[in-house]
């Protein structure tokens, strides 16, 4: 998987690393059980501070997407086929989604256009469960 970041962009680097890994998991490019480079190796590969990658991995661990251990390194813990998320996570995500959609509405995007954008974004992910016809 190619992980692309913009080190001089407006979004913090740790957030970009976290976002790209979430997108790779959703798109099936980084399925549950697959490994990621260690924090030190990814820091070298991206030319960024070790603590920046550590922060991204810790964020993903707290979100339940990554398992970190000394023995097996960083391993993806769940993906689209791992069953429904926890109720706590769903509530938090709904609140963040509400703010994101409100931004579009505040900028004058019609409701139909917002829904079309949402559908296009979801369609971009190749959910393995849906592809196999499972619920």
């Amino acid at each position: 998987m190619f992980l692309t970041i913009e080190p001089d962009g407006p979004v913090p680097i740790y957030q970009q690393i976290r976002d790209r890994i979430v997108e790779a998991i959703a798109g099936g490019r980084q399925p549950a059980g697959s490994g990621l480079p260690s924090t030190r190796q990814l820091a070298v590969d991206l030319g960024v501070n070790f603590h920046t990658v550590n922060k991204s991995y810790d964020l993903l661990r707290r979100e339940g997407l990554l398992r970190l251990s000394r023995k097996s390194g960083a391993v993806v813990q769940r993906d689209a086929s791992s069953g429904p998320p926890s109720p706590d996570w769903a509530g938090d995500w709904t609140a963040r989604l509400g703010t994101l959609l409100a931004e579009a509405a505040a900028q004058g995007l019609p409701a139909e256009a917002i829904i079309a954008h949402c559908q296009a974004a979801v369609a971009a992910f190749a959910f393995p469960a849906e592809a196999e016809g499972r619920p």
Partner: protein, 374 residues
Amino acid sequence: MTAGALAAVFAVPFYGALFCVFPVVTKPTVQFGVRVPPERTGATVIGEQRRLYFMRTAVICVCCTAMAILLAVHGSRWPPMLIVPIEMAADIGCLLVARRRITAVKRAERWFAGLRQTVIADTSWRADPPRFPVRWLFPALAITAATVLIGVVRYPELPGRLADGFGAWAAPGHRVPKTAVTVFAPVFAQLWVTALWTAIMLIIYRSRPEIDVADPAASVRRYRRLLARCASAMLALVTLIDLSLLLAALRNWQVYRLSGAGAALPFLPYAVGLLVFVTFVLRSGQGGFRLAADGIDGSQPPDLARRPGLADRDDDRFWKGGLIYVNRDDPALMVGARFGVGWTFNLANPAVWLLISAIAGVPAGLVIIAVLTR
């Protein structure tokens, strides 16, 4: 002509020609140490500066070679090898002039305006790292073992005072007392050369691949090929350096005797190895960009065609003088060289200074031991 003078007559045109061709083997997106967006690689200022740099460095090469030959033929208290650092300084001056002109135009025309500057990592690289070709180490170790064996056999028959120095760098007529350190100095040198370059190649193997935003998949494959080629070429060069040291040891141990330019015989394997190594590396290009990317379908457009508006990160601020890499945030020990081919140290990393101290410390320690045991 002495062996040292002959070595200088070889070294001056060699390094001059090397600097001369550097822009050709450097990626079009980092000309003269300046990061250039893919759509600006054909800018007029770059073409102009390439022509001027080539002419200037060619004139420097010709003048310095003529000067080295004159010093070597007529004899002087100034060693002809002194021309090499002078020539290199002049060539770096030409690089800095070209770099300044291109940077000025780049800033004035805002080449990176509106582009998303990215860095790419291949997360699968660490899961399937390239294998270090250990088998290429065996010839170098066999030569070192042979040197030790011959040294042990010759030791009892050696006189009380021995010739000093290695190959072309031997001090004519200078003798040192016979001790284990002075007799086996060539073996220590062989071990140091082999260990040093193996360690550096291992660090390079653990460093990051150079991935171009223009075509990440192809650049990773090219980099993999470059590593394999460089490691085998480097270890072949190490073998030939060890052979040079063996020939120098045989001369010091009075197995053979040659005078005048003939004394340069131990220098020959090293010179041949260096020429072959440099040719091999130059043909690969910076980051392997001149190599074919195995398994890439050439009929498909490069990745950048599908993702317009992207460019490699403008990282000029981390390159001092377009040659020296200093980036505190980057934990890498070594990164790809900016001008020409090869790799360079990240001087902002404290571990690099420890490494440089170790590299310089070993021969310095040996010289101190040799002086103390006299």
